[in-house]
């Protein structure tokens, strides 16, 4: 027993030894708790991409990457502990993967001069980089998602939604409430009727919401769910025989975990996404060769190619590219969080760049600037094929309705600036 303990301790120290590496990234992940089923694939993808960079390229710009993982359990208090404990290690960027923790880190990280990348979650108005200097949410945010969801509905209805009924089933939290304003504006503009159905955390009990849907017979249902709530909602939709192709989830409601429990009946369910799906990209061969075959895959290694794994991979790729950009701007390889922020603000993602990374067509191409920390809001719709057991994109990446979103972003960021005495500007 004692010997195993010592071995474990020695192994632990040896595993911790590469902490000498220079570029520190953090993964505030959740592999436990009510949202673990979704947290695990994301964390694996994030981790595997950095392992790949270390194994294949020797890190980023010659500097090895040290990835600190910290378990939050989607809990804000643990998130604070994680932030404070990794901050001192020189973490370059935070990706909290929780809207609650993001809201909390926005003022803290800004005061500490560390950038936060809330990719496809968090506070939407952080897109206005003149107010939120350290917060980034490229390539797309919830309001983009809501807007593109409505655009997709317009497309399949020949451009006219007047008189239609759309229901929003949402997680009753900061996260789930995000799209409401956008949808209300869109409802005004396009003349459809919007009904709101909140589901309380964690979302295992949705009978009454779906009963209401059965009674009101909305033409379309949008969903802002996370974790077990998604599976339950899709199952309930199956139970009331709601047509799956009229049921659209946001990107956090579009993973394999969400549709598999409902089996065949989930066929045709749609989900928004801001990156491509599947494992038909050259980078996955490298992951197989350098990471999986080397026995270095994160977690159980069984998530590769799933929707959320790809999202974690995409997040890591954007972080690594921002670090490369920062190294280029400042001419040093060992960058600081402030330099990382500059790298993120000048990040350019082009088709060629993605192709050279082994990810051709994986996401939209976009430029980040001081005024725009949120990219262009390009979102696609994917559909679940229960027979083949995989997602596929059914639209191109289309841009959200900027006429609706820009005034909302300006309004919300202005109120944040007023609350916190921030003078918007780029200096």
């Amino acid at each position: 027993m004692k010997r195993t303990l010592i071995t474990a301790a020695v192994a632990g120290i040896m595993a911790a030894a590469p902490a000498m590496a220079e570029l520190t990234f953090t993964a505030l992940s959740y592999r436990t708790g009510p949202y673990a089923a979704n947290g695990i694939p994301f964390a694996d993808g994030y981790q595997d991409y950095f392992t790949l960079l270390n194994e294949r390229d020797g890190g980023i710009g010659g500097e090895m990457v040290n990835l600190l993982e910290c378990e939050t359990g989607y809990n804000t208090e643990k998130g604070v502990e994680c932030y404070e404990s990794t901050k001192g290690e020189g973490a370059l960027v935070y990706q909290p993967l929780s809207t609650g923790i993001t809201y909390q880190l926005i003022p803290k990280a800004t005061a500490d001069g560390i950038p936060v990348h809330s990719m496809g979650y968090g506070r939407t108005s952080a897109k206005n980089g003149e107010v939120f200097r350290n917060i980034f949410n490229y390539p797309a945010n919830y309001w983009d998602g809501a807007s593109v969801g409505i655009k997709h509905l317009l497309d399949i209805n020949g451009g006219d939604l007047s008189g239609k009924k759309v229901a929003l089933v949402y997680h009753n939290s900061a996260y789930g409430k995000e799209p409401i304003r956008t949808l209300e504006e869109a409802a005004k503009k396009h003349g459809f009727e919007l009904s709101l159905l909140p589901v309380d955390h964690p979302g295992q009990e949705q009978k009454s919401q779906w009963l209401q849907i059965r009674r009101d017979r909305p033409d379309y249902v949008l969903m802002w769910g996370w974790g077990v709530m998604n599976q339950v909602a899709i199952q309930e939709a199956v139970n009331i025989r709601f047509p799956m192709e009229n049921f659209i989830g946001v990107w956090w409601s579009g993973s394999e975990n969400d549709v598999l429990p409902a089996g065949e009946k989930a066929h045709g369910y749609k989900a928004l996404t801001f990156h491509n799906v599947g494992d038909d990209f050259p980078v996955f061969d490298d992951i197989q060769k350098y990471v999986v075959d080397g026995g270095k895959a994160a977690g159980a290694g069984d998530q590769i190619g799933t929707a959320l794994y790809n999202r974690g991979l995409y997040a890591a790729m954007l972080a690594a590219e921002a670090a490369k950009t920062a190294q280029g701007i400042h001419g040093v390889s060992d960058i600081t969080p402030a330099q990382m922020r500059d790298g993120m603000e000048n990040l350019v993602i082009t088709e060629e760049k993605m192709a050279s990374l082994g990810l051709p067509g994986f996401g939209p191409s976009f430029n980040v600037s001081c005024q725009n920390h949120g990219g262009d809001g390009m979102v696609a719709v994917s559909q679940w094929d229960a027979n083949a057991g995989k997602w596929s994109l059914i639209t191109d990446f289309v841009q959200s309705d900027q006429d609706i979103l820009n005034p909302l972003i300006d309004e919300d960021s202005a109120s944040f600036a007023a609350e916190n005495n921030i003078t918007p500007g780029c200096n």
């Binding site: 474990a8 301790a9 192994a11 632990g12 120290i13 595993a15 911790a16 992940s29 592999r31 436990t32 673990a36 695990i40 993982e69 910290c70 378990e71 359990g73 809990n75 804000t76 208090e77 604070v80 502990e81 404070e84 404990s85 901050k87 001192g88 809207t99 609650g100 809201y103 909390q104 926005i106 003022p107 803290k108 800004t110 005061a111 500490d112 506070r123 939407t124 108005s125 009753n172 939290s173 900061a174 996260y175 409430k177 995000e178 409401i180 304003r181 909140p198 309380d200 955390h201 977690g299 919300d412 109120s415 609350e419 916190n420 005495n421």
Partner: protein, 358 residues
């Protein structure tokens, strides 16, 4: 040898009635206060304050509050999370409506608001007891969380329903917001905890506390000897909610800075604080501290040992944490059903006889 009354002569009633009648105990108390007020503030950094001291101090206040209600007055409550939410939203409304007023005043007022709400939800306790009262307070928990989620006025109509603490000061020193100095927030919470503990301790030693305990031990007998159950029970609800409200206000304003009611003040919070006082010891101020320390500090310690020390995977460590903390709770409760406070009492008895136990 260390801990004995012999030779410690009291020459006035005041001396005889003091909180710590034994000299050793008294000096230990002064030493703890000295360390907490004059040593720790110079040593702490962001991590120690935000990850360790603040949760400990704030949960201690909540545990003291709940202990008054459950431990001293015998009224089981599962509404702690909801009452903390009242404190948090009250302080948020106050600090945004009156930005120039000192934050300390806001916190006390938030406690007052919570006391009023607590009394309202305490009214059923006059009719129902035990588990049934627990269910009634559970209703308070769910109602309050629903209310703060549902009515936009409480979160100032923000898009997401989150509340964010703006920067506020006490005597010109920032205590909320991201730029507050660690020592300032630490001392701010420590002052509140010390005051709450002293007030609670003295209330429970006095006539009010004796009435509570009479009600707890047997309410009919208490009524016969002249304790008014209405005032006793409602005062317990008021005082308890006052403390819980203060802890909620500090939890939101000073510790987290941004709060979402369902996540931060859900039913889990009620259970957590209830477990703190059960593990710490019902009817003991020291027990409130011990329970809060046990449930706040142990997970952080385990995480640091397992993940940072041994380099284990985070998910394995998190699961082990549950098992170890859960196992320790079971072990403690089997070995000492009256909680950590009773262990401390037994230790003191042993110390009193040491080194010559008979």
């Amino acid at each position: 040898m260390f801990y004995r009354e012999a030779g410690d002569f009291k020459t006035s009633y005041q001396d005889d009635n003091q909180t710590f009648p034994i000299k050793f105990d008294r000096y230990r108390y002064y030493a703890v206060l000295f360390a907490a007020f004059a040593v720790i503030p110079f040593l702490v950094n962001d991590y120690w304050v935000n990850a360790i001291f603040l949760p400990f101090l704030i949960y201690s206040i909540a545990a003291i509050g709940l202990n008054i209600l459950v431990g001293y007055c015998g009224q089981v409550s599962l509404g702690t999370g909801g009452f903390m939410a009242v404190g948090a939203y009250a302080v948020y409304k106050l600090m945004t409506a009156f930005p120039d007023v000192s934050f300390a005043i806001h916190v006390v007022l938030a406690g007052g608001v919570t006391a009023i709400v607590g009394v309202m939800f305490g009214l059923p306790s006059l009719r129902i007891k035990g588990f049934y009262l627990a269910v009634a307070t559970l209703a308070a928990q769910f109602f309050l969380v629903w209310l703060f989620n549902r009515v936009p006025w409480f979160y100032n109509y923000s898009a997401s329903g989150q509340i964010n603490a703006p920067v506020r000061t006490v005597f010109g020193v920032e205590v909320t917001g991201p730029t507050a100095e660690p020592w300032a927030v630490y001392l701010f919470c420590l002052v509140f905890l010390t005051l709450c503990a002293i007030i609670a301790r003295n209330l429970t030693r006095g006539s009010v506390g004796r009435k509570w305990m009479a009600i707890r031990d047997m309410d009919i007998a208490a009524e016969i000897i002249g304790v008014n159950p209405l005032t006793a029970k409602l005062s317990a609800f008021a005082v308890s909610s006052f403390f819980v409200g203060i802890s909620g206000a500090l939890f939101f304003g000073v510790y987290l800075g941004a709060v979402e009611v369902g996540e931060a003040f859900g039913i889990n919070k009620s259970f957590l604080v209830l477990f703190m006082i059960i593990i710490g010891g019902l009817g003991s101020i020291f027990g409130s501290f011990a329970g809060a320390a046990f449930l706040v500090l142990l997970p952080v310690l385990l995480k640091n040992v397992l993940v940072s020390g041994l380099g284990w995977p985070t998910d394995l460590a998190a699961h082990l944490e549950f098992m170890i903390v859960g196992g320790l709770i079971v072990t403690f409760l089997i070995l000492e059903p009256h909680g950590l406070a009773q262990l401390w009492r037994v230790a003191k008895e042993k110390l009193r006889l040491w080194p010559f136990p008979h």
